[in-house]
């Protein structure tokens, strides 16, 4: 049990001391995760909305596929991206392996299905309510999608949050394509894995506490935004 006491001590000391190495790791974690989630939103929101509104052959299959991909194992995504980016791979010339860019690519692939699947659900429900109105107005398919995405914007925050949580917490993908290189590709989760394997359990747990704290802060912030919007009764 003394490890837990020591862990809180370590965590506090690291935060209070503004440990530069720690700040670097936190900074990279945030940069990689937020960039990945933004990319996943840019792809996943319209994709989910089109799946919710559109009628085309293969739609049902695509819906099942994307729902299934929500549970994609990070290690498998990491491995696939590794094979694409390695020197012998098709994208090897870009020399992206073991860079933050590679980590962003891997996490985007991981998060996009989550955002697309949740968006589809939210938009499909709202489309049920808006469909007759928008069709009677003669709204074109594209403006229908835009209308629904805008009106569901606060509900869709939840989808983005789910993606954010997934990206912030995963270690498998960033470990494989990033390599946990100090000062280059080391993020919170890979640092925790490393310290654990070195036996520095208190430090690892201290980092873990900071990671959970950050996750709570980000969630609280976005939830607060949604709640204030609900108070305005737009939602």
């Amino acid at each position: 049990m003394q490890d837990f006491g020591a862990a809180f001590g370590q965590a506090f000391a690291l935060i209070a001391g503004f440990d530069p190495a720690l700040m670097e790791i936190i900074g990279l974690s945030m940069r990689v995760t937020f960039t990945a989630v933004v990319i996943a939103c840019v792809i996943g929101l319209p994709l989910g909305a089109v799946l919710a509104v559109g009628k085309f052959p293969g739609r049902a299959t695509l819906v099942v596929l994307i729902s299934a991909l929500m549970g994609l194992p990070p290690v498998v995504v990491g491995l696939a991206v590794y094979m694409m980016l390695s020197a012998a791979g098709p994208l090897g010339v870009l020399q992206l392996l073991y860079t933050p860019t590679a980590m962003i690519i891997a996490q985007s692939i991981l998060v996009t299905p989550i955002i697309a699947a949740l968006t589809r659900q939210v938009i499909e429900d709202m489309h049920g309510e808006y469909d007759e109105l928008l069709r009677s107005m003669g709204s074109r398919r594209l403006s229908t999608v835009a209308t629904l995405l805008w009106d569901a914007r606060y509900s869709l925050l939840t989808a983005a949050l789910a993606g954010l949580g997934r990206a912030l917490a995963e270690v498998g993908a960033v470990m494989i394509v990033g390599g946990n290189i100090n000062h280059v590709t080391r993020v919170m989760t890979t640092a925790i894995a490393l310290e654990t394997s070195k036996g520095a359990l208190a430090l690892a747990l201290g980092l873990g506490i900071i990671l959970v704290g950050l996750s709570i802060l980000v969630n609280a912030g976005l939830m607060g935004l949604r709640k204030s919007a609900e108070r305005l009764a737009y939602a």
Partner: protein, 253 residues
């Protein structure tokens, strides 16, 4: 291939009496699960004035409006629009019993409609002010539309429909759940729309409302028109047995 109501279908000109017909439904049938809910409906509407569609629940009144609005495609029958070969969809506007407003302010709801209806950007601002004025919505313009009272919401929905400057305004029991004051406000807007030249087709169970607004009554039962009569005559002495039974308050079978 049966002719369906599509935006591109070929539409021919129909003449009926002196006044040109706005729209004519010919032998329209709509079935659901083998049951004909609209069963060989024939109806010709003149281009102006207010027609009230009455009839018991399940007579097919709402379905008829939805067919005219292009929301559902009848299994059989034809719909013909006068004048133009193709019907620009925005020239028909539909107001639902329960208003569906977007999760935005009143102003943004109307702006969205003007955009969908293809009003040029340079005219949108002025049209928006006119619409707010018309619906007495100026003070409510920046409020989220969904927190307004039922009557205010229906006013927004009706003004939004008028943003299309519709040739045909379809109203599906727009005041069914409103108090008398809110109902009067909606009726004023309907009169304004009719006076500005739109054809109004109103479904209502409110006999007083029908008497206040109707030029003509169309009575529907079991998906068929039983009579088309001037409002004055209908409330004095309906021609069809179904109309008489309905007005006397008996159940129709």
């Amino acid at each position: 291939m049966p002719e369906t109501l599509s935006r591109n279908s070929h539409l021919s000109v129909i003449e009926s009496g002196i006044e040109p017909a706005a729209v004519a439904l010919q032998d329209v049938v709509f079935e659901r699960q083998g049951k004909a809910l609209v069963d060989g409906l024939n109806l010709t509407l003149s281009a102006h004035g207010t027609t009230v569609l009455m009839g018991p629940n399940g007579a097919g009144k709402s379905l008829t409006l939805r067919i005219m609005a292009g929301l559902i495609t009848p299994g059989h029958g034809k719909i013909r629009w006068n004048g133009t070969e193709t019907l620009p969809s925005q020239r028909v506007a539909l107001v639902f019993q329960k208003p569906v407003l977007l999760r935005r302010s009143v102003r943004a709801n109307l702006k969205h409609a003007l955009k969908i209806y293809g009003v040029p950007r340079s005219e949108q601002g002025q049209r928006l002010e006119e619409l707010l004025e018309m619906g007495h919505l100026k003070e409510l313009a920046d409020r989220p539309a969904r927190v307004l009272s039922g009557g205010e919401q229906q006013r927004v929905a009706l003004v939004r429909a008028l943003a299309a400057r519709p040739k045909l305004l379809l109203l599906d029991e727009p005041t069914a759940s409103l108090d008398p004051q809110a109902t009067a406000a909606i009726e004023d807007l309907i009169r304004t729309a009719a006076a500005s030249g739109a054809k109004v087709l109103l479904v209502t169970h409110d006999r007083g409302q029908a008497q206040r607004l109707a030029d003509e009554i169309v009575f529907l039962n079991h998906g068929r028109v039983t009579e088309v009569t001037s409002a004055a005559q209908f409330f004095d002495a309906p021609r069809s047995r179904e109309g008489r039974t309905y007005l006397s308050g008996h159940l129709l079978f």
